[in-house]
């Protein structure tokens, strides 16, 4: 059990992992209390959704179909998220709001624009366009794979129980 070689290997692995971790969180050195983080996420995230609801209500007043209003409101938020990222304001908001600015769709737009901006100097094709999917890639991969697997599960379930699609 207490093999000294194994122990030292484990210890050095642990040290390496801690070092990597420390370098990853260098931006957030100061530990912020959970309650404050959660409250900020709630308020900022809620405010972005409220803004979306305001756009939605204004669009329904213009007499558009319900689904169109939802999509258009999301598009406005995507536009705002992209432009504010491009101007450098959204990342500042992200430092305060955490998940409150990441989880709304404007945060998804931010995750697309931010790495693209950063790699623009490497060229439009190999830099900007390639890095556009640094963060959006995983979301699309897991989103598509997850929905396909869940669809397949439903298909098999209905085939076994004799239900209709």
């Amino acid at each position: 059990m207490n093999d000294p070689l194994k122990e030292s290997m484990r210890a050095s692995l642990e040290a390496a992992r801690k070092k990597e971790y420390a370098s990853l969180i260098e931006e957030t050195k100061e530990p912020v209390p959970l309650a404050k983080n959660v409250l900020l996420a709630f308020v900022v995230g809620g405010a972005i959704c409220l803004l979306g609801q305001v756009f939605y209500v204004l669009l329904t007043m213009a007499g558009l179909a319900d689904k169109t209003c939802v999509t258009l409101s999301l598009l406005i938020l995507i536009f705002l998220g992209s432009v504010l990222t491009g101007l450098g304001y959204y990342d500042r908001l992200g430092k305060i709001a955490g998940a409150g600015s990441i989880v709304p769709i404007s945060g998804f737009a931010n995750s697309v624009v931010a790495p693209a901006l950063e790699w623009r100097t490497e060229g439009i094709v190999a830099g900007l366009a390639a890095k556009l999917f640094t963060l959006a890639g995983p979301v699309i991969v897991f989103g598509v794979t997850g929905s396909a697997l869940l669809g397949l599960i439903k298909y098999i379930w209905l085939a076994l129980t004799g239900g209709a699609l």
């Binding site: 999301l74 737009a109 963060l135 439903k154």
Partner: protein
């Protein structure tokens, strides 16, 4: 209408707060990619059991704006396409349902990254 605003704020904020708790309570470092993936999958699972549209009916944009709404529209798209095309719908439904948002993110994101300069 005012109640709709209230629920949009509370449910939308609540989903973000939930994600923040998950972020802070996870023992290892959680990047924004991790949190976005988790939120999308969360929305897909709720959509799979037919629960997410209740949340949308209550909170409107409060449930549509957080990225779990994107996950839900993927899974609803898959189910709708399965109703039309059978098993092939598993592959055709997801991205076509999320196409408007996804295309907008790519196109607007592309031009924002080209033309804008961060200040400071």
């Amino acid at each position: 209408m005012w109640l709709d605003f209230f629920w949009a704020f509370v449910i939308g904020g609540g989903l973000c707060a939930l994600a923040q708790v998950a972020m802070d309570k996870t023992p290892f470092f959680v990047s924004s990619a991790h949190i976005l993936v988790a939120v999308v999958l969360f929305g897909e699972v709720l959509g799979f059991f037919g629960l997410y549209h209740h949340l949308i009916r209550l909170a409107g944009m409060g449930a549509a704006v957080p990225l779990c709404g994107f996950g839900n529209s993927l899974i609803e798209g898959v189910f709708a396409a399965m109703g039309r095309d059978g098993l092939l719908g598993v592959l055709t439904g997801g991205l076509s349902a999320g196409a408007a948002g996804l295309d907008a993110v790519i196109i607007i994101g592309f031009f924002s990254a080209i033309f804008l300069k961060p200040k400071g």
